[in-house]
Subunit: 233 residues, 2 copies
């Protein structure tokens, strides 16, 4: 570790987007601290993926926060509501999907903010994008800007003028295909990432949830072979 | 429960301020859902107080969220840093105190936001005040306004136009004495509240941390007998 190296918190879900965001943070020479959340997801495969990605991409530390969202409820990702399945991306219903988790990114970014202040980090990377974003309100640019503004009023470090917090969204205006191409240039091995909302016990992707369909389409449009093992091809 | 009654989330620390905020929410005829946090505090007395206050003031439900802030560190309230003690409020050091917890209110309000959406609540009450506020940046009006703005961009319920989130800070411009007078008018029994940062094993207040000193001064200035049992009078 270089003493003058700037630090960044990178939110890591174990998926394709957050892994690309981590690779971009690293390419900007940040010392990266990865942050993942267990929030009552139905499976642990994405946390295992986040752990191996943090190691593979040389994060200084990987921290998993347990959040009680499962008890609060309100989502197909945490409650006993079926994850919607479709044959292709055209069938993905419009509007905000059932997999929406109330205030998820707000809670995640709030923890990142706390950790940023303790570490003296100025940048928080989050892999949201406003194109293939599945309709979540807390992935939109106006939300991110409002969070950043609030963050700079919330902390001792910002109020005392030692830091300005930057919420970094390098994927915001990229399609899934463009994200994959950016990651390939940075030598990201996408075979170790996990996107599926509803994998089998072995962690194999279902191939038909919104997240799998967007991932497949991305590799297809990028002209890159999809390394994912799907239970249904 | 009245089906047309509006719902509110009330952040409850078990202390004097949040209890007064709860009494005010109730006086406005909200059905109140109280939310408390275990964040690695050195003691559980404030959570016990929050539980008995929720019952005494007729909250519909009291929910305690476990947050991992203790692992993130950075505060005398959660780490192995001595809580500062003084003889009177004039000795309280200026600036942001050691008891500051990084991003605490941001994390707390984020959970409140998630629960508000699930319950269909529009109002979130938080007992911050900008006068006797001990110097925390996330108790200032500009912070609260920025959080509210962000909140209304974050949720499915707000984006779809079903709700507008109001972060309610009825104590914002009240001194501790004015808060106590307001609570007395609403029949709050302050003997069941807990403010001390550093109580003994039996839960008795130390009488010399910032929080105890501000509480004592408040009762004194309000001309109301202080019902608190202090280890040192």
């Amino acid at each position: 570790m270089n003493q003058t190296q700037k630090k960044a918190i990178v939110l890591s879900s174990g998926g394709l987007d957050s892994t690309t965001a981590l690779a971009i943070a690293r390419s900007e020479n940040f010392e990266c601290f990865t942050l993942s959340f267990f929030y009552g997801q139905r499976h642990h495969h994405e946390l295992h993926a986040a752990e191996r990605i943090s190691k593979a991409l040389g994060a200084a530390k990987h921290f998993v926060v347990n959040v009680d969202l499962g008890q609060i409820g309100g989502s197909a990702l945490t409650d006993d509501i079926a994850v919607p399945k479709n044959r292709n991306t055209k069938e993905i219903s419009t509007g905000i999907p059932l997999t929406y988790v109330p205030a998820r990114n707000t809670i995640f970014l709030s923890y990142a903010l706390a950790w940023a202040e303790v570490l003296g980090a100025s940048d928080i990377f989050i892999g949201v994008n406003a194109i293939d974003y599945s309709g979540y309100p807390d992935c939109r640019p106006e939300y991110i800007f409002a969070f950043e503004k609030m963050a700079n009023l919330a902390l001792k470090a910002t109020v005392e003028g030692r830091t300005t917090i930057h919420i970094r969204t390098p994927l915001l205006h990229m399609s899934k295909a463009v994200i994959i191409k950016a990651g390939m240039k940075l030598d990201v091995d996408y075979s170790i990432t996990h996107s599926c909302y509803d994998p089998d016990d072995a962690g194999r992707a279902c191939g038909s949830c919104d997240s799998c369909l967007l991932r497949k389409k991305g590799f297809d449009e990028a002209g890159v072979p999809d390394p994912t093992v799907y239970t249904v091809q």
